[in-house]
Amino acid sequence: MRIATPLLAVFRTLVYVFLLAPILVVVLASLNAGNFLTFPPQGLSLRWFWTFLNNDIFLNAIAYSATLAACATAVSLVLGTMASLYFTRHAGKHAEAVRIGVLLPLILPEILTAIALLFFFYEIGVGTEHKIALFTGHVLMTLPFIFLNVNTSLQGRDDSIELAARTLGASRYTAFRRVTLPLIAPGLSTGAVFAFIISFDTFGISFILKGTGSAPLPIQLFDYLRFNFTPEAAAVSTVSILMTLVLVVAADLLFGRRD
C-alpha cells in the first residue's frame, strides 16, 4: 500500500508541530516584554534573559545540575560499560540478573526508585544530607542509557577481536583500550549524551533526594514557579533547551557514526 506523498508530508508536519510546539511556546514566552508568563507574549524583549543572568540562584542551579549530570554520567559510563561487557560476553542467570538490575530504574516509576533510595539511605543512617543519595539516584537513572547504547555497539561484534589483540601481545587493559574502546565509542558518546540530559532534566529523584542546600535546576524552577509567575522561568528553560541542543550537536560532530 502506498500513501500519497502530499498526505505523508502533511502527517509528518503535524507530528513535528505536535512535538515541537510546546518548546516553541516556551521560547516565545521567554521573549515576553510583559511581567507575566503568558502566551502569546505582550511585546518582544530580552529583558527576562538579563534578569536571569543576574540571578545567582538560577546560575548556581544550572552549574549545580551540570556538575551533577557530568559526575553521574562519568560514573555511569564506567559502571554501564562494565555491566554491558559482562552481559554481552556471558549467558545465563547471572547475565540476565545484571541486565534486569541495571534496567530496573528505567522500568519502575521514577518516584518508586526515589522513595526506595530515600528509605535505604535513612535506614543505613546516611540520610540525604551528603548528597550521596541524590548522586546515587542520578547514577541509577542514567545507567540504563549507557548500558543499552554500549550493548548495541557490542552486539554483533566479534569476541575474538579482543582475543586476537591478546595473542599479538596486548595485555587485557591495552586490548580494551586499543581495540574494544574505539569500537564502542559511538555507543559511549550517544549513551553519555542521553545520560547527561536525563540527569539534567530529571525531577522526581531530585525532588525527593535533594536534601537541604543547593538544588538542581528543575527543583529550583519548580520552587520559583510556585511563588512567581514571570517569563524568567521561560528564559531559564530556553537556556537549558539550548544547552541540550549544543550538547547533542557537539557529540554528533565529535563522535557521530562514521562507518
Binding site: D158, L163, A164, A165, T167, S171, L183, D259
Partner: protein, 360 residues
Amino acid sequence: MTEVSLRSLQKLYGKTAALKAISLDVTHGEFVSLLGPSGCGKSTTLKCIAGFEDITDGRICFDNKDISRKLPEDRDIGMVFQSYALFPHMTVTQNLAFGLEMRRVPKADIARRVASAMEMVQLTPYADRYPKALSGGQQQRVALARALVIEPAILLLDEPLANLDAKLRDEMRGFIRDLQKRVGITTIYVTHDQNEAMTMSDRVVVMFDGEIAQAAAPEDVYNRPASERVARFVGNANILDLPVAGADAQGTTVTLPGGTPLHIAPCAAPARAGAPDRLRVMARPEQITLTGPGLGQLPGRIEKRYFSGGHVEYTVATECGALFVTGPTTQHVSEGDTVGLSFDPARLWPLPDPAPERAQ
C-alpha cells in the same frame, strides 16, 4: 625437537568434559591438524594452547617449559580465527603493525617488517584499506600476515577457511601450506573438513568426544584407521563383517559370502574378545574394482551410479550389504547391471572390535 607438548590436558566446563586428558607432541616445524566432528573439542584444545581458557588438569609445554599458567600475551603465539577477527577501525597496515607495536619494535623496523609481510601475502596494493573494504579471501590473508609478522614460535589456526567458497578454499589451502613450509613455523590447524586435514598436514589428529582417536600421517589415518569410527569419519569406508577361517603369524584368513577366502595381513589391531570367529575389514571405495559378472571375489548388482567428473561413484548391492565403489569414467556400467567385485587383500584393513567404543 618437541615444540608443543600437551600432557594429559583436561578441560571441564562445569561437569561436562570438553577434553578428557589428551596428550600430544608436536615437533618443530610440523603441521598438525586437529580433525573431528563438531563439538569434539578441537577449538577448546586451541583455546587452551592460546591461553584463553584455564585448563582443569594436565600441562601445556612449549619447548619443554610449562606455560600452562602464562597469559596469552606472553605465550609467543600467532593465531588466525575463523572470523578473521581483524581490527575494523584499523587499516591493513595498522592491523599488521599492532603486534609489533605491542612488542615495542622500533618504528623503522615495523615499517620494514609490515611491508615484507604484506608482500608475502600479496596485499601491498591494499595497504591503506579498511578490512570491510576487502574480500573474504583478502581478509583471510591479512589475518594470516598479522599472525605471522610478529614471528611467533607457534601458529594456531581455527577453521580459517570455513567462511570461504569452495574454489577460494582450495586456493588458500595451498597458499597456507606453502607459506608454512617456507616460514617453517610449527602449526596447529583446526578443521572439521577431512580433505583439508589430509592435503595440508604432516600429521592428522582425529578427535572424538574430547579424546584423541588417532594421531598419524594422513596416509595412515586414511588407509590404516585405528577404529571403525575413524574409518567412517575420514572419507568413505566399506566395512565388511566376515567369518574367520583361520589365523596364523602371517595374518588372518576370512571367507567372503560365496566362499572365496581372503588373506588379511596381520595388524596392530587387538583381537576381538567377544567374537574371535569374525573380523571387521575396511575397504576404501577406490580399493574395490568393478569387473564383469562372474569375475572377482564377490558378485553384486549396481544400484546407483553417479557421474562426478573425474570418476564415477557406484552403490553396489552385495551379500555383504551395500558397498560404495568408485571407478574410472571409461568403464561402461549402468544401473541394474550384474557385476563382480574384486578386492586387493593387501589393501584391506582389519578393524578392532567396535564394542568398547559403544560401551562408553
